[in-house]
């Protein structure tokens, strides 16, 4: 049975539907709050309705501009800018697709030096035909206990713990009339570390990109806290897109979110952008960071070196997987790779998903310093 909505309230009610159509969360609870709020504040003008809508529907800060545009289109009949819209129903966030503020300057410099192939970003979407076998997913799920862990504040009873578990000891003491002959000990629990994946999607990595995305999707669903970004000419957060359970749907969503497929490589500025967003910076703190890239940086590598150095200071373990490492006579000889090597814990083979999987499952073991490993190899 449908209930007739009063004409005056109809625009308010239909606004929730508009929000939902554009991928915003607008539950019936929030709708009720919005209506009650509008009644409470007046409404004196459109501004009071707008502020009430913000307070009630709590749009993500990254999507404030989009929310604003939707509000104006709905209530003020202003045209909706098409570019600000994500895929309907999707969770892609325009704010998660960031062009480095320094990219333009760096690009001009590179052009003058003749090292850059192009001075403009060539942005386009990409479709993937990914057919996962599920083997990798099963393997990682079975071995998820091998993901790196850390101690947390929570405690649990433990036979060889170092401090007394008072709650359990009291329960035991009650049974023995107040005598605490054998206290129960406790230890701190372990919990998985954050994992941060950064996937280079530049032209030189084109062949490996689908496999990397499949790998990222598997890790995102096997481990507890995983954040994934693509880096090319810009930085894009794809964690939300990869959260879809079906691999094909997830990879297709990534195809829609990322705009700089097969472009140039601006790892330094892209990583620099990563640090300039406090939220992103916190993802790296104490995390196991894995960068999947050939490190073929265009132009001056100083920015990349600075960014990697900074990343190494906040991350628990910083690993770089390059497909070039699989080559028989590989050695870190490019200027960029030589300079970032001292800051890396691992420089590993990233030529196949199998190699990456093997590495991820060994990540909880002590990390050797990449520069020591490669120096000794080169000496041999």
């Amino acid at each position: 049975m449908s209930v007739a909505v009063p004409r005056a309230v109809a625009p308010l009610v239909t606004f929730a539907a508009v929000l939902r159509r554009h991928g915003f969360s607008a539950s019936s609870d929030q709708m009720v709050t919005f209506l009650a709020g509008v009644r409470l504040v007046g409404p004196a003008n459109f501004e009071s309705i707008r502020l009430t809508a913000y307070a009630s529907f709590a749009p993500d800060y990254d999507r404030h501009n989009e929310f604003e545009a939707l509000f104006r289109a709905h209530f003020c009949a202003e045209p909706m800018p098409r570019t600000s819209l994500p895929e309907p129903g999707g969770r892609s966030q325009p704010g998660d697709n960031l062009t480095s503020p320094v990219a333009a300057g760096a690009d001009r410099q590179a052009r003058r030096s003749g090292k850059s192939a192009a001075d403009r970003e060539l942005l386009h979407a990409r479709r993937f035909d990914v057919q996962g076998t599920g083997t990798l997913h099963r393997q990682l799920l079975e071995l998820r206990s091998h993901f790196p862990q850390r101690r947390c504040f929570r405690v649990r009873p433990a036979r060889h713990g170092k401090s007394i578990h008072l709650a359990r000891s009291l329960a035991r003491a009650v049974r023995t009339g107040g005598d605490l002959a054998r206290p129960v000990f406790r230890e701190r629990c372990l919990r998985p570390r954050k994992i941060l994946l950064m996937i280079d999607i530049s032209g030189s990595m084109k062949g490996l990109t689908p496999a990397y995305l499949r790998f990222a999707h598997t890790i995102a669903h096997a481990a507890d806290r995983v954040e994934t970004f693509t880096i090319g000419t810009r930085l894009t957060r794809i964690s939300a897109a990869l959260s879809r359970r079906a691999e094909e749907a997830a990879v297709a969503a990534v195809g829609n979110v990322v705009l700089d497929w097969e472009g140039g490589t601006r790892l330094g500025p892209a990583l620099g952008t990563f640090f300039k967003v406090p939220r992103y910076f916190n993802y790296a703190r104490g995390a196991a960071v894995l960068i999947l890239s050939d490190a073929l940086e265009r132009g001056d590598a100083a920015e990349l070196v600075q960014a990697v150095h900074r990343l190494s200071r906040v991350a628990w373990r910083l690993s770089w997987a390059s497909p070039l490492v699989a080559a028989a006579h590989f050695a870190p000889r490019t200027a960029a790779l030589k300079r970032i090597l001292p800051f890396l814990d691992d420089l590993i083979d990233g030529s196949s998903v199998a190699a990456l999987t093997n590495f991820v499952l060994r990540m909880d073991e002590p990390a050797p310093c990449a520069s020591q490993v490669w120096t000794s190899r080169l000496e041999l």
Binding site: S25, S27, D29, Q30, T33, A36, G37, L40, V41, E47, S48, L51, T52, Y54, A55, S56, F57, A58, D60, Y61, H64, P101, V102, C152, F153, R154, L166, A167, S169, L170, A173, V174, G177, G178, L180, R191, G272, F275, K276, P278, R279, F281, N282, Y283, Q306, R310
Partner: protein, 302 residues
């Protein structure tokens, strides 16, 4: 929900909420307590109080989220009970704990006699229970909820829905009226939609130069108006640079104070330059700011 506390009328009539007739009242009363809220924040606070919903304030560190809660506590005449979240925070640290050491002693003292170990004498109230037991005199501030684990966030959902806590040994404790709850987040991670949905939300942005100068003047005490205006303008300029940690309002206040202290030994704008460590606290940020500092101060000190 018959007789439920979710009904707006119950919420408004059941508790002595701060008497705000309109959104403007909120701004005025906050200003009287040295907190300058914009219209968006005033609307969000007004709605949260009138609808009896938790208020979720998000924003960069140092924009005044916690201060907003304290100012609201002062207006409402309630003490602010703060639950500082951190990674690994657990339900007992937020709800209640038993005083095990005292229980053990009582058990030993009692000897052969029966003793009830689970009375309120042995219960240690933690912030959520403290507010639940006395919602009319306390305001709950759940600070930096984004630092807590997602599991703790899920636990909060339950608490914020029913405002009741179940203590197995004692029974269910329910708030007589809905307490005022304010949550803050620095947005170091995305909060779950379910939590956001239950709250009235506001993103606190950095204030404009005029408002910031006003805040500095009120908060910094011995700072003169021209200094406050110069600092506000300079801080606005600094926020325009690509910094890892843009200066917050508290840093701006400290900068104004520090520059005022240094004015005797160094003139303007050298006092600002010397005190820059108060406002920029990151090596890379200092390097980013260095080439722009002179021109920025020159523009600000007009």
């Amino acid at each position: 929900m018959p007789g439920g506390r979710n009904e707006v009328s119950d919420v408004v009539s059941g508790a002595p909420w701060p008497q705000f007739r309109a959104v403007d009242d909120v701004g005025r009363q906050l200003a009287a307590h040295d907190y300058f809220a914009d219209e968006g924040l005033a609307t969000a606070i007004f709605l949260a109080l009138k609808l009896g919903k938790p208020l979720l304030l998000e924003g960069q560190p140092g924009v005044g989220k916690t201060e907003a809660a304290k100012a609201l506590g002062a207006i409402a005449g309630r003490s602010v009970v703060r639950l500082q979240c951190y990674e690994g925070i657990d339900a007992p640290q937020a709800l209640y704990e038993w005083n095990y050491a005292r229980q053990l002693l009582s058990l030993r003292q009692a000897g052969e006699q029966a003793v009830d170990l689970y009375t309120s004498d042995f219960l240690i109230e933690r912030p959520l229970l403290a507010v639940l037991r006395d919602p009319l005199r306390r305001l709950l501030l759940i600070d930096e909820v984004d630092r807590a684990d997602p599991e703790f966030e899920a636990f909060l959902l339950e608490f914020l829905s029913d405002f009741q806590i179940s203590i197995p040994e004692v029974g269910t404790q329910t708030a007589a009226v809905r307490p005022i709850v304010i949550m803050t987040s620095n947005r170091t991670r995305d909060l779950h939609e379910a939590l956001r949905r239950r709250c009235i939300y506001h993103w606190i942005a950095y204030p404009d130069a005029e408002r910031e100068a006003e805040i500095i003047l009120r908060r910094a005490g011995d700072v003169v108006a021209s200094t406050a205006e110069a600092v506000a303008r300079a801080v606005q300029g600094l926020r325009g640079l690509p910094l890892a940690k843009p200066p917050g309002i508290s840093e701006a206040i400290e900068w104004a104070r520090a520059a005022t202290l240094l004015i005797n030994s160094a003139g303007w704008p050298d006092a600002f330059r010397r005190a820059v460590g108060v406002v920029i606290k990151d090596e890379e940020d200092l390097a980013t700011v260095a080439p722009h500092l002179d021109s920025l101060l020159k523009k600000s000190c007009v």
